[in-house]
Symmetry: C2
Subunit: 200 residues, 2 copies
């Protein structure tokens, strides 16, 4: 093995392997792919990494990743500032934006409460959320964390903080995914779907 390896290639493969969901074999394949790219393309790739790291920060209102001080959603005239959708990560904002249906604003927690992993309220952007509610005329906070143990716990924790402030706190509906099959749904999902049934 050692005899065949070009060291910078091994280092590059190790860098790829640090990315989530990329094993050593895929990492090696990607490293070889970089070798087949033009010098210019490789440079663009490397520059994109540095540029994203250097030019993207957190929106000072909603904490979503942005290249501006205040992100385009928070500074948009068209968004409803009375609604805040609280999510775990920037990816979730992208998912909601893809629906083209939500007109309110967001708040990105950058994580979920997880005492086991030593992540508690101070590690999340909860202070920033409370500060927004103190200043903006917020009427509803939609808890849109994932339906996992940590997601539920975080939603409950924040709800308990907000309710005394007279804020309406709601939670995303859980049920059968559209296009899904009943037979593949797990029991908890099926139970939630039954519990949250609506009149036709």
């Amino acid at each position: 093995m050692a005899e065949s390896s070009a060291l910078p290639l091994v280092i590059l493969a190790e860098q790829f392997a640090k990315l989530p969901g990329i094993g050593m074999k895929t990492a090696q394949r990607l490293a070889y792919h970089v070798m087949s790219m033009s010098r210019e393309d490789a440079k663009q790739f490397a520059d994109a990494i540095i540029s994203a790291k250097d030019n993207v920060g957190c929106c000072k209102v909603c904490q979503n990743l942005t290249e501006f001080e205040v992100c385009p959603i928070c500074s948009s005239e068209r968004r409803d500032r009375t609604q805040i959708c609280v999510v775990e990560s920037p990816k979730d904002v992208t998912a909601f934006e893809r629906t083209n249906e939500y007109e309110g604003t967001y708040h990105v927690l950058h994580g979920l409460l997880s005492p086991v992993d030593g992540i508690n309220a101070d590690d999340l952007k909860i202070k920033e959320l409370l500060r927004r509610i103190g200043t903006d005329e917020v009427r509803e906070v939609i808890m849109a964390t994932n339906p996992t143990v940590e997601g539920e716990a975080t939603a409950m924790y924040i709800a308990r903080l907000l309710k005394p402030m007279g804020i309406k706190v709601t939670r995303l509906a859980f049920g059968i995914p559209v296009g899904g099959h009943l037979e593949y749904a797990d029991e908890v999902t099926l139970f939630k779907a039954l519990e949250n049934r609506s009149e036709m």
Copy 2:
């Protein structure tokens, strides 16, 4: 969508999406991961790309990727220069080296003949192989291209060039993979396994 996007992040995701086997969703996930890396780690990643591109070239003997003029395998005292294993790509060399069994040298073609895609003999490192055979005391060339149409055609083409030079040309054995199941083997593999059966 556009409103939520931090441009440098979109550019980085597009760069990741250019890699083989990485779709837009995974690319986005990787771009977000880069955001969670430290500045130093991101720098190391970017540098590894440039360094691999700048410092790795082809071994002037076997054409495998290496940071040296002559790769460690070709310059090793312990390797048998009378045997050359001809493979499609550097990945295949790594695969053979992992077996820890092969003692000979390699020759990397950097592709396979594919007239449909406009890849013909001049695009592969075949001249370089013939030159080696002219100078080194090569006795056997093992054709280790993949058992695909292009792999077979390339093996046949090179074999036809080498045989008149008095070189023994061999082909990898095809058969049931070790640990595989007969019932899952396709007909061609099963036929090959039958054809190449050995006495016990």
